[in-house]
């Protein structure tokens, strides 16, 4: 996949994702009530890497493990950065979910929307397990 956005996009370590570029197009901009909007239901093309730290036993244990693995003697240094491409981002996000200290989760935007609503409705902070599964299976389709 090669996407060259018209704007300059750069990040720490040169990383950026397609989602960074397009989130604004989807979420912001003028909305005029005399026009209808294309349905965003089923949008499955963009991935985000959820890196919000959530307080839970699961997270505590993963962080403890991450500290355990951390090379304390090495000075603080920058990570190589997130992968550039959405496909890679998805991969690393899905793996990070189970292995990383930060609660990495690759999700579709619709998942994120749904999750945000669910969380607000239920007052629950943890991502839904079924969303992760759905993401994993959906990921295959998109990479084709």
């Amino acid at each position: 996949m090669t996407v060259v956005p018209a704007q300059q996009t750069g990040g720490g370590g040169g990383s950026s994702g397609l989602y960074d570029v397009l989130e604004l197009v989807l979420d912001r901009g003028l909305v005029i009530d005399a026009f209808v909007r294309v349905s965003l239901v089923g949008i499955e093309i963009l991935k985000i890497d959820v890196r919000v730290v959530v307080a839970s036993v699961d997270t505590y244990l993963r962080f403890a493990e991450a500290c355990n693995r951390l090379d304390l003697e090495a000075g603080p240094r920058k990570n190589p950065g997130l992968p550039d491409l959405v496909g890679e981002m998805t991969e690393s996000g899905a793996r990070g979910k189970s292995k990383g200290a930060l609660s990495g989760a690759a999700e579709t935007i619709s998942d994120a929307f749904k999750q945000a609503r669910d969380e607000r409705d239920e007052g629950e902070a943890q991502p839904k397990p079924r969303a992760r599964k759905a993401t994993a299976s959906r990921r295959k389709e998109e990479q084709e």
């Binding site: 956005p5 397009l22 989807l26 005399a34 919000v52 493990e65 607000r120």
Partner: protein, 262 residues
Amino acid sequence: MSTYVYGITASSHPSLPSAVGGVGDPPSPIRVLKEGGLAALVSDAPEGLRPKRRELLAHSNVLAEVGAGGCVLPMRFGSLAPDDDTVTGVLAERAEHYKERLAALDGKVEYNIKASHAEEAVLHRVLSENPEIRAITEANRQAGGGTYEERLRLGEMVVAAVKAQEAEDATDVQHTLEPAADAVSVGPDSSGWLANVSFLVDREGVETFLTAVEQLRKGHPHLDLRVNGPLPPYSFVDPGPAEPAGTMTGVASPETAESVEE
């Protein structure tokens, strides 16, 4: 056939219409509908338009090209009018409002900044700044990882420290860049960043702004900063300051997540 609307600009805009193709496959040619002093950038809407990657990029690219030549008010992706007349009708009806916005945003561009933590680097920071956490980590390690309770206790402390760092960094991101911008709009914080903030920057001040970004980056090596711009002012099309200076609502926290769907 319905009409896809990309954005609204002044009819005197120097580079109309866009040479970049619009949504659809093959890309629909961009047309310009003029009314009063305003112009709408439109194309025919393809049947069954879906929010696919290619379509989103087409929308974004048309606006980027037109926005590079002068101020354009970008529509959110996927705005469809039943026909061209409806579009010119809207331009006529709300001419004053759009002209005011175009004047207010003239010569300005948007930069979107997203920040997240580089995991290993932020853990290093937390450990180096917190002797107690460091001591427990060492003790657990020597005990072969520690008991379940010990690991839980360590993890809880680390999470609290990382969350505090997230909040601090979110504030730092906004406060460092704010002085170099004309306006600030804090984006939805449900999407996995500790900060997602758009800045309205005068074209003349872009260099100053980017210098501030570099300073922020140097001072916060544990942050992944993603800079997206210059963009048409997606986050500033609605009147009024989106966020008064000094407030910070961009601290990532799912409990306060807002749905970005309308």
